[in-house]
Symmetry: C2
Amino acid sequence: MSTPAENPKKESKKPAKVAFTLKTPKGTKDYTDKDMAIREKVFNTITKVFKKHGAVTIDTPVFELKEVLTGKYGEDSKLIYDLADQGGEQCSLRYDLTVPFARFLAMNGKEYQNIKRYQIAKVYRRDQPAMTKGRMREFYQCDFDIAGTYDSMIPDSEILRILCEALTNLDIGKFTVKLNHRKILDGIFEVCGVPEDNIRPISSAVDKLDKLPWEEVKKEMVEEKGLAPESADKIGEYVKHKGGRELLDYLKKDEVLMANANAAAGLKDMETLFDYLEVFEVMDKMSFDLSLARGLDYYTGIIYEAVTEKSAPPKLAEGVKPQTKKGSDELDESTVGVGSVAAGGRYDNLVGMFSGKNKKGQPNLQIPCVGVSIGVERVFSILMAKQKAEEIKSNETEVFVIAVGDGLLKERMAIAKELWNVGIKASYMFKNKPRLDKQFDVCEKEMIPFAVIIGKDELEKGEVRIKDMRSKNEAQGGGVTVVRADMIKEIQSRLANM
Amino acid sequence: MSTPAENPKKESKKPAKVAFTLKTPKGTKDYTDKDMAIREKVFNTITKVFKKHGAVTIDTPVFELKEVLTGKYGEDSKLIYDLADQGGEQCSLRYDLTVPFARFLAMNGKEYQNIKRYQIAKVYRRDQPAMTKGRMREFYQCDFDIAGTYDSMIPDSEILRILCEALTNLDIGKFTVKLNHRKILDGIFEVCGVPEDNIRPISSAVDKLDKLPWEEVKKEMVEEKGLAPESADKIGEYVKHKGGRELLDYLKKDEVLMANANAAAGLKDMETLFDYLEVFEVMDKMSFDLSLARGLDYYTGIIYEAVTEKSAPPKLAEGVKPQTKKGSDELDESTVGVGSVAAGGRYDNLVGMFSGKNKKGQPNLQIPCVGVSIGVERVFSILMAKQKAEEIKSNETEVFVIAVGDGLLKERMAIAKELWNVGIKASYMFKNKPRLDKQFDVCEKEMIPFAVIIGKDELEKGEVRIKDMRSKNEAQGGGVTVVRADMIKEIQSRLANM
């Protein structure tokens, strides 16, 4: 027997102080074996799609030099986690996978002029958590990006096709990809009279339209950001439009807008993109939505966000804003939606921000990129809500070795070893003399499909019994008796027919 | 065309300051696509073995409340990374996967009285890096642990069998598992006259015997730790022994040792363990080694460490100690070995350290555990040294769609889409009118086995050509012409025969 407590002297030297509450840090959680079984399915589904499109994967450190992250996230920079100064470099936990990827390209641009890479890894944000909605401080992102100088909209259309394939295969229900273009937005702001240095702030205000009613957003533009009310109203007219190809045709008739260089370039991109999306048969999933702005500074071309029915806050219709719980700084989850399940866009200047500049002030290295990030935590929370925990088998064990009678530990071990040797997933009870009913209980609890049952008499005769544990058929009784030498063959054939 | 630099106004507002050296933080590295291809193979090999033995996986946060890690790592606690105090909780990056696992069990002990769990994740240590030997500040660990109250040595023997299966399947060459027992060691120290409060420090000194000659270790015991020289000499006699079952028989004849309760209990455990390891056919891999001590405080039973030929420092035989490079604090890698490729042991009291104590001073929860941690970075560095980088295919693409003549972009897209729809991994060149030789270059560089070649004439006739790109057989010329409707079937059959 293991005798766990026989070294009290060590314990008395270092008393177990558990004066603190035993928990994971705020906004983080453990994933149990059942959570992980679902999660692995999600990752495998996504990875399969990415690899189908030629992706390779890279891995970057969980923390970066602080300077790498500085100046990339606008207002959200305050959410970055820093490591303590313990002498040496100043580091911060990564906020997303995009900036580290751009840093990687800037460092390795010679060998990686172009790459289709995916990365599935955790990122960190000191945000207000809303855990059951999948909004956490530590969470996984699944990113796919295409880097390289290519002809217009070809990689962009493949990214959108990949996104649609992934979301379809994940089986999270109906989804829509909201689509817009930074240049079209900039053009709209320009023709509506937004001063150049107010464009990004006004864009941030527009970005809140999925969470706030227009009146609130207008108020922010006029009162907080000093925009003329008539400019705001003009913007309000534009951003209410959404649709498909017909919206493109409608905008192309807008002479004021088409006279703006940014808007015209953006609309031309969209036209090319729509052609390709039709070839890829995903145009029906798109919603060209002029209210989509995306918060991050670094986008330069198309931007998009995938939403499902669960994305919207349940009470938005009633005009309720996300609220924190009384006496706490955690969000009241009934006031927030799952949010978008994926988002991304084109960012052509981010790599150049790391490469330094030449004498003419141009970046030494320019690698245009387009990518998408799938919010797996949100996907995961949608899937978990559909699935009953007791139905999830988190182990993959195929055979449980059971002894009738006198324990037969070494004999059970020897059978398990035989099974392992040919790759069959097998286990047995870690007891010298386990009770028969206890052994069957484990088999059932762990949802193990087959039992190999041994007894002294059978072993002497060179036989074992095999029982299908899933079958409620009384006819099989104690199982089928087979010659021991045939055990492996018999089990392999049953596994093949599962 | 993507026009990357058209928004100079944004750049001029936030000038790209790259006054810092663009790099990853000290002791960390990026893994390229080729590194990751090898790494995924390693993870898959290990995971397959773990799952064969019934393991499930869990995931814990990358940082823990600081108090969770406090008092668990002895001298090495100074290597823990802390997060900055940004208001709220004090957190630290995890140092290993064992302590978070014990914390998880202490929090969820009701549902998890027993579990076989594996976890593959990164851990963090502010140590002196020796990068090419796989000793880094951020690195992966692959842990497998069996938690639960079971009969003596049954889970312990399965862990050792799992370790041998994993190392064998990883194909890193000949390995040995050094094996010892904390109680045997404690017994030896007691009969050699080591005072109770000096046992752990003396044990730490013994632990250095794989890196330092006995004379140095003795010096540390006597001069630094104040042990009587004759005690040190007695210990020196014991710890030089290693072997198999015969060492057990030899020690059992040592009446002084057998009179010590700890030593007798440890030797009894070893005898039972050896019986089971013989059933599992891994006894030939074991070296019962009395010099193995393991640094960590929390072990209470058997301890082990797997070593390969690359484990020893290259110059140890000449008496050279690990040295830092001149003018730097990085280790001179010619003076260090890869070290052990896996290690572990039994730790029966760790969960209890988190559970609080009852009035009698006993832990509220006691879950005995035994586990092993595979040092994948070291495995990885051994495998990378064997493999030529140019032979590694990091993508999985099966078909490259090539156009002869006028670009045929939408036609290439349509063919790719057809392939994707049935799950075939396909890509094509992101150019409107790519040159034929450039397309073949990509196909070759990315080691894509098959090309589908289309031309205007063929398409009009409803045909495509399929070429085996791996074959140097001139006879296939431009490939085999097939009816377009048969393309999928033809490619599927070729892929099945690869």
